[in-house]
Amino acid sequence: MAKRVWVWTEVTDNAPHRGSLELLTLARALGTAEAVVLGPADADALASIGNHGAAVIHHGDDARYAEYLAEPQAATLATMAGADAPDIILFSSTPSARDVVSRLVAKLDVGIIANATDVAYDGDDLRVTVPWGAETTGTVTLNGSKPHLVQLRPKAFAAEEVGGQAEVKAVDVAIDDSTLRTRVVENVVEASEGPNLEDAAIIVSGGRGLGQPENYALVEELAKTLGGAPGATRAIVDAGWVPYSHQVGQTGKTVKPTLYVACGISGAIQHIAGMKGSKYIVAINRDPDAPIFELADLGIVGDVLTVVPKLTEQLRNS
């Protein structure tokens, strides 16, 4: 039987999050796709969500949803699901979705699966695909009451424009003042140069093997020469070499470029989770036993500080 599927849809500055739109593709395949939008969203944003396949949009337009972190959203979702539980609620893997769904799971006392890449039903039984590390895939189900909650990695599905129009229903749950405890005081966008990491066909990423923060410039130059975007591992983002917006991996961005060049990256599981969908992988690393070489189509055991500048120079001259 077709399932009732809600997609918690994140809208920031009237732009629906791409990860949420991707999940509408999955939701349509499973059954009736309904988007839940909590916070301000204009007519264009709602039209885009309908165009991506939501039959219904449950819209709570109270601006306070955007002014406070997860609590009012989780409370409203719990009330909505308590009154009219769908089979499943899908969340994309973003920081905000994680905040909301992790509180919701405790409110509803239901099951949650995070980091999933696919959802299917075998009759009434849920089947969720979860990759573990680089070499194992699990099939997981949830028991217990509904809704079941699943958080999916971005780029597991393509966002498809299907030309639909959604019926918009107002969410009539009032915000409880007791949930207004964590206030967002300021939003700061940190500009990054060059093509967007998630859209780039070529990504050149750097890791600890670069040795010094200054050497990240070698990664940027190679990326620029190839017309790609520079990326980074969690280690060098944490060390403050580059902003978080550059981070590829489990807690950063999931990317699927045509070419991924890994410079001085050993291949920690978290990083691999974010880049292993790349079509071609070239890795340059001094350690011949680095796990990244197991993924690489072309592996260069060598010094990034020698190889990368020479490579950039030769590409410029050719």
């Binding site: 509180r103 699990g138 949830l142 964590t182 072309l298 060598g302 050719s318």
Partner: protein, 260 residues
């Protein structure tokens, strides 16, 4: 100021992760397990707050006997005491079951702040902190890349996909921290010796008043049906570079795949 920091004993992330296809669980070898490196950042910032404002840092873990090593490490960094939730009934707990046990232990402590890593390095679901905040009825401020406590409030810079947000909450609150929040100290030999004598309070589900049926494998709502090895034998080429002599081959490869 009393701060409880949640910590986990995890397989060394520098070793390859293996899943036992029989038990369908992560293979855990205590000899190759360590205090989760992501937890060291929370311990460090907690110590810095207490060193400035006074108070105590209590480190909390749930796990088998070997997990005490993680607590000793945290106490060697400076945590004053530890709570170890240890009970066979907890084996196989999912994120919510884990949060239920941790919440029971934290509730008894009545801390001003609870600090967790954004996610553990082994399971990396990131679901425990939010569930914990909900069960404790605390506000949560998450993904902190910096953290400041002023009077009765906590203020953080919260890492977002495009930059950061400044987020504030009144204490008591739960905070999740990223590695940017503080550079962990390295314990001296003397502190490591002292940590061996610091108290570890062991508690089971009975002592915590947790229903054993709501946690562990029996309480878990998640059930792993199958685990498959998908080791792809990629027919990659590996060459050793001498002074940049591999560059021609890289350029040839980029031309072959039509990106250069």
């Amino acid at each position: 100021m009393k701060i409880v920091v949640c910590a986990k004993h995890v397989p060394d992330p520098n070793m390859p992760m293996e899943v036992d296809t029989g038990t369908k669980r992560l293979k855990r070898n205590p000899a190759q397990s360590i205090l989760d490196p992501s937890d060291e950042f929370g311990i460090e910032i907690a110590l810095q707050i207490v060193e400035k404002d006074g108070g105590e840092v209590v480190v909390l873990t749930m796990g088998p006997a070997a997990a005490e090593d993680a607590l000793r490490r945290a106490m060697a960094m400076g945590a004053g005491r530890a709570i170890h939730i240890i009970d066979d009934a907890l084996a196989g707990s999912d994120a919510l079951g884990t949060a239920k046990a941790l919440a029971a232990a934290i509730k008894a402590e009545e801390p001003d702040m609870v600090i967790c890593a954004v996610e553990s390095t082994d399971a990396y679901t990131g679901m425990v902190p939010g569930a914990l905040a909900e069960l404790l009825d605390l506000p949560q401020v998450t993904f902190a890349r910096s953290l400041a406590v002023d009077g009765g409030a906590v203020s953080i810079q919260r890492a977002t996909e495009s930059g950061y947000q400044t987020v504030q909450a009144q204490l008591p609150a739960l905070v999740t921290v990223t590695a940017s929040v503080a550079e962990p100290r390295y314990p001296s030999f003397k502190l490591m010796m002292q940590a061996k004598k610091k108290p570890v309070d062991a508690r089971d589900t009975g002592a915590l008043g947790v229903d054993a049926g709501a946690v562990g494998e029996s309480g878990a709502k998640e059930e792993v049906l199958t685990v498959e090895l998908i080791r792809e034998e990629k027919q990659g080429v590996k060459i050793t570079d001498e002074g940049g002599d591999s560059v021609d081959q890289i350029v040839a490869y980029l031309k072959k795949i039509q990106v250069a």
